[in-house]
Symmetry: C2
Subunit: 870 residues, 2 copies
């Protein structure tokens, strides 16, 4: 079959997979196609596939056959509309719109009213008898075409004034002055330039920035939608509107939208003008409203998701211009997903796939302390819920600058535009003085899950003086404000924030997720408080309890320090025996909180010098010597003795327990005595003891020997016996390389992906920070290795070791307890390897549960696809 | 077939492989068997196989059937000798000797004269009419049996005096006192205990120590040789001797030996008595001497190696008691191997397999500066050649203590024994006041390749005062002496040492090795001087030239420091351009020296802070600031900025060249300009540019891009073109994991096994030194990972990466340039993987050439074995 570049709305594409459809036609094109296929009124259109854009960007020319197909497309539009392209008497005007697979609102270019020229404008005036309308269209076309294709900013045109014919003249003069050519009059020439302009806009800086923020692949390209113009600015029975099939702020099941009479779509989206609520249509054009309502409900049912619909009314006739899954607040997202399950529109699995980890993050975000008196200085429209506190900044650049200094900022502007996105990504929240809930600022805020207030007309921004005037209050850039995107309130000063609660719907969703997820989620928790928090967050155990964190309390660290200074084993044992009761109490409390859930306790890990002041802190050393009642010289000598060139690669982990077996002994005794004691209280203990930093089998065996010796002693003395597991932390490359050997002797592996990543790359997290930034800029590396598992390197090492371990011990328990345990992509990776659990910090547990369920669903689907395609 | 524990000398074992024979019968047993099979006179004997010992040590009891077979063995001896075990009138006396696969002289136990008791001694007196002889035998038996089986030291017996009958009484009393039992009279009971005693002696501490030093496996076990006694102490026509079929000091082809009349073998070996030269036999027992000479020549021809033969003459009749390959000095080893090739006794390959890396080390050892006047204070017998200088130590313990403080020591003792071996291993050389060239000290010294002087009776050791008296000279422990094991001279004070030359035979052997070795040997060399030395040593190229080493010369480091302090790129470039001429000159000289041999140049590797003084050296910083004419504050700030937590895992390697591409640019320009310029001189350049510390493909590609850009510029400007290769140093685990990807773009891999080992284990060489000692003691690790490649961990990573690389690029050049490139085992490993070359420090090159040839021979043999066993 011949390769095809152009698709018509009337084509029967026979593509069930909506994702695939978007890949070919872009999101907007796919929406138009679906609208049309469902029989909704859509202005005739055809679509240039994304593949043409990819070809163009690679080869800097149209692919063979494209222009011929476009020409046939125009013929098709002419036939459908009974108009003629470039014909004065009955002209076909078209829009040329970008539209990528993933929505990038306002980031790429769109050209409206193409087909108009000096002749055609005259014809329109003749036909409509409305010169204002006709010249408005021509004027808009010159502005937008000059901007997109020739880079002449619209602001330059907006300075031009005069009567309507004069303006067109002056516009064309400006165009000539800047380009040394006449404004093009051939509509086909314009069309070709417009298509190239849209293609090229895929690579404009703001689009690139947007893709980076939203992690959209760079190589998709955009489709081009070529559609017959309909005119919301035709007459008083015309207008343009945007609606959501449900409320995208709070998730309520009501149509919600905004409308402008006698306007084109861009007027609404740009946010310069404050629109009317959709309800005005009910009054003014009730027939149209009823039709609209009926159509969009049908649309939602068919597409099974809340739709963000653009429509235009031309002389009382309704046209749909776009439909897409609506961006929504996390709150609305969660509620809508749950309700659609109740309505049997979607399955629980589908609901789970619609929620993201960022949505959950949002609910972990704080709200204002309700007991704090609020000095409300202004109120706008609540456009994206949540609370935020920060310094006022008036430009996106300033937002970035301040955020780089680790300061929290609130961006306040008259309206935002695509160029501001990078700055918005760094701000805590946004306020605009104009625009509605479908304005750029509102859409971006909801997408980012950040609080936003729009149309706050009380605020006057003085960009010269860099101040805000709110009635008689004056705030400077840098002053602190607090904003509540749920209520629209702006408060002077810094309001204390408190943690927010999960909505019931999220709890329900997470309970579904828990049932679906095969891979369990545990938490890294060192203290009983951490553990309680972890349970509250839904953790099904502790995957990493770092015993050394228990050492830092003031009444304990003294003993740790004395232990380090001990001259010989007996003295060290003596001091360790004083630490034992502290450790035991901690463990008992930990076991009580976890009450039968698995608890993985790691023996001492950090290098001992971490418990002493650094060499250069002479005052601290003096003080400590006095406090411990030891010779200052002795202390200094010890500190020097413990100094290491590369502490990460020094005496730490199980190496400590091998050089000082008495430390391991004390810790194991404390753990097992604690377990015995709480068992007598009737509390179950599912204990896993973990040996860190193993790279040689005998290291593990030597520690196992101590554990077994001590356990025999403790159990005999206490007259009871407990089952427990002994495992290794897999955090050196060598441990992975000898996994098969280790697996024979260990009960479980827990991959410590932080250290493993450091050793595999040969760079430490601390020291690499400074060059990894450059690496990112220079595109040496395109992911954050300390956030997401490096599948190619670290991941392949893990994958091979899991395989070899399972070869000798099929049921060996395997998990991840590094930073990556809370990362979505890494969780999917872990699930693919068939791991039993991941462990992450308590606050990341709900996200991890969701990701674990999603991983399950993704893999099931893949399996299903594999089966059905066989 | 029934499992068999006992073998007789008359058995036809049909085992061609002499190694296999030794495995079963032990070295001594195999020797006896071969002697007997060749028809040489051997006292009747049978041998308990090593398998019985292994069983016994594991199960603490004799295997089923062993004792019955031993009983039959005794019956066999009785039949052969027509004597009866335990019979008073015609008693069979036997020796029960240890003998493992690998010779461990004096380390395990031996019991002589077993079969004697109160009754038998009387019978011997009656038959021989020689009560001195009979009691001497009994006395010796009680001493040795009590020592070996009951741990009563022979020294305790030696305090007992009196007439011969009285002595036996007192001996038995002492025995009773210590054991609360009578001295056993049943010879079968004694035999059983003796066998157990020999089995157990496999695990005595000195045997373990010896095995550790000589890397003999722990699980071999010893055979037990049960042999009819013959008596060198029978009468004046009796005696015992040791001989070598060639001179084991200088390799001359003359029989060489020592003899004692009226003595048993142990008297000779112990070294208490100074023996006579073998030539005395010619005079006193000429018939025996002729026979002896004939037999041993036959023996050498049959066994194809110099033999170390023990024999005894009983009443004028010659018996052979042992034969084994003789330990020899490196000089003798090399000469004998060459000569045997000339005599067509062995092949060149066999000759190569007989030489070890340590032998070559020996020739790299220094000799005395011939221009230095020597104050010779004593002279002994030269027992092992070579020169050494060090402090006098009088005990093995002291030798270890001082050596641990990195001090060089010479061990001076009356005689050495097995317990001293650990201390001897740490000394530079040994002097004994008694003993001959077959004494313990002499044998061990030759084995270790250390200088040794024996029988130096001028020296009087006062162990109480810890001094040596040599006539009127008094030397204290700790005083320095120099010894020449080639001449036997002992010199006061420290004589300057100079490098020695390779003997012609070694050069010949190495030339054979070079022809056989497929894997080439290069050198790590940074300067023209290094390179010249490398060529002299036989290197076939430079495998690693570290460019940074060229930076440290005083006139250059200033620029490096200014470059580091440069505030921006242009300034840095400016300063770099001043460094360029220096680097270029170095490279030109390097290319001239290597004249067409491959030269691998690595771009800058170390972290920049290594070029500045450390933070705490305030004086040095002040001085440097003045010197560089920069602000002190600025310098300090830079030093702080460059400080890293773990410099090993920080900004170094190719990361530098990515952050500062101008550094790579300058280096590449210097390299390529140098190459162009020497090419015009008519010198060939085989250039390989190596990028260090790659872990991400794009790191390599970014550096490759610079190289290609600069090369284009240089070649265009110079109007010529050179071929060169670009490769990576494989030193992070990730580089190995992405080898397949890297292989597509690189011309060669060079494994930097030092860093790779560090990252794989997660411990740095510096910081791990302190705990690796403990690890060795606690048997956590049984090899030195920074010396020999860790095949299980690091090795498996390398092996997999080599395989995947070759999958995409069959002919990719692969080598090792880490410390391991000069290590014998690691070279064998590299050859197994099919690497193209290894690179090591210049002085290790000859060893590496030998090892490479040996690897070839070993693999060929394996292949041959595989083919023939199919």
């Amino acid at each position: 079959m011949k390769r095809r570049w152009v698709y018509f709305l009337s084509d029967n594409l026979n593509i069930k997979n909506r994702d695939r459809l978007k890949e070919i036609l872009g999101g907007k094109g796919a929406g138009l196609y679906l609208l049309s296929q469902m029989g909704l009124p859509v202005p005739p259109a055809f679509i240039i596939a994304t593949s043409a854009c990819r070809y163009y960007l690679k080869n800097r020319k149209f692919p063979k056959g494209l222009w011929e197909e476009v020409y046939l497309g125009i013929k098709y539009l002419e036939k459908k509309t009974k108009k003629r392209f470039g014909n004065k008497n009955n002209p076909l005007l078209i829009s040329v719109r970008s539209g990528a697979k993933f929505s990038m609102p306002g980031m790429m270019d769109t050209i409206l009213n193409l087909g108009i020229n000096d002749e055609v404008v005259k014809g329109i005036i003749e036909r409509t008898n409305n010169p204002d309308f006709a010249y408005d269209i021509y004027k808009r076309f010159i502005e937008i075409f000059s901007d997109v294709i020739f880079g002449i900013k619209r602001e330059e045109f907006s300075k031009i004034s005069g009567n309507r014919e004069k303006i067109i003249e002056k516009y064309k003069e400006l165009f000539y002055e800047r380009t040394k050519r006449d404004f093009p009059q051939d509509p086909y020439e314009c069309l070709k330039m417009a298509i190239e302009g849209v293609f090229n806009s895929w690579n404009n800086p703001r689009a690139k920035e947007y893709r980076k923020i939203y992690q959209i692949p760079e190589d998709l390209g955009t489709a081009v939608n070529i559609q017959t113009m309909v005119f919301g600015n035709w007459n008083e029975k015309s207008g343009t509107g945007v609606l959501f099939t449900r409320n995208v702020k709070n998730g309520e099941n009501n149509i919600y939208g905004e409308f402008l009479f006698q306007a084109q779509g861009e007027d609404l989206v740009a946010g310069h003008v404050t629109p009317l609520p959709l309800e005005v249509l009910k009054e003014k054009l009730p027939q149209v409203y009823i039709k609209l309502e009926k159509y969009v409900k049908k649309l939602e049912k068919k597409l099974k998701d809340v739709q963000d619909v653009e429509f235009t009314i031309e002389d009382g006739k309704l046209y749909f211009l776009q439909t897409r899954a609506a961006k929504r607040t996390p709150l609305a997202g969660v509620k809508i997903a749950c309700e659609m399950v109740k309505e049997k529109l979607i399955t629980k699995e589908e609901a789970i796939m619609r929620i993201s980890g960022e949505d959950i993050d949002y609910f972990l975000h704080p709200t204002f302390d309700p007991n704090y008196p609020l000095e409300i200085i202004a109120k706008g429209k609540p456009a994206s819920p949540g609370c935020a506190v920060g310094e006022i900044v008036l430009t996106a650049e300033k937002a970035i600058e301040r955020a780089n200094e680790n300061r929290k900022v609130i961006l306040v502007r008259d309206f935002t535009k695509a160029d501001d996105v990078a700055g918005m990504a760094r701000a805590e929240g946004f306020v605009t003085t104009t625009g509605g809930e479908t304005s750029h600022a509102a859409v971006v805020a909801r997408g980012m899950g950040k609080p936003c207030i729009v149309g706050c007309s009380d605020i006057n921004i003085d960009m010269e003086k860099k101040i805000l005037k709110i009635k008689d209050i004056i705030l400077k850039e840098g002053d602190k404000i607090s904003i509540n995107g749920t209520t629209g309130e702006i408060i002077k000063g810094e309001v204390p924030l408190i943690k927010s609660e999960f909505p019931e719907e999220l709890k329900l969703l997470l309970s579904w997720a828990e049932k679906i997820a095969k891979m369990k989620v545990r938490a890294n928790a060192d203290t009983p408080i951490d553990a309680e928090n972890a349970r509250k967050m839904g953790a099904k155990g502790i995957g990493l309890a770092r015993t050394e964190h228990m050492f830092f309390a003031p009444e304990r660290i003294k003993y740790v320090q004395l232990m380090i200074l001990a001259k010989e084993k007996e003295e060290r044992k003596e001091i360790l025996s004083k630490l034992l009761p502290f450790q035991k109490e901690d463990f008992k409390e930990l076991f009580r909180v976890m009450n039968g859930l698995p608890v993985t306790i790691r023996t001492l890990d950090p290098p001992l010098h971490e418990f002493l002041p650094p060499k250069e802190k002479i005052e601290a050393i003096k003080e400590l010597a006095k406090e411990l009642n030891v010779n200052e010289e002795t202390l200094i000598r010890k500190i020097e003795e413990l100094a290491e060139h590369n502490p990460m690669m020094g005496l730490r982990g199980c190496r400590l327990g091998i050089i000082y077996p008495e430390i391991t002994e004390m810790q194991i005794r404390a753990i097992l005595e604690a377990a015995c004691e709480v068992k007598k209280e009737g509390i179950e203990v599912d204990l896993e003891i973990m040996i860190p930093l193993v790279s040689v089998l005998e290291e593990f065996l030597s520690q196992k020997e101590i554990i077994e010796k001590v356990s025999k002693e403790v159990f005999e003395k206490r007259g009871l016996k407990l089952n427990y597991k002994i495992g290794t932390m897999m955090e050196t490359p060598r441990a992975c390389l000898i996994a098969q050997e280790l697996a024979k002797y260990v009960d479980f592996f827990s991959y410590g992906t932080n250290d493993l990543t450091q050793f595999v790359f040969g760079f430490s997290r601390d020291d690499s920070a400074k060059f990894l930034i450059s690496y990112e800029q220079k595109k040496i590396i395109d992911f954050e290795p300390f956030k997401t598992i490096d599948e190619k390197g670290v991941g392949s090492l893990i994958a091979n070791s899991v395989k070899s371990a399972r070869r000798v011990k099929r049921n060996i328990k395997i998990g991840i307890c590094g930073e990556h345990g809370g990362d979505e992509k890494s969780i999917l990776f872990a699930r693919k390897l068939g791991m039993d659990y991941v462990s992450c910090s308590p606050y990341r547990v709900p996200k991890a549960i969701l990701a674990s369920a999603q991983a399950e669903i993704i893999l099931r689907k893949k399996k299903f696809n594999q089966i059905t395609t066989k």
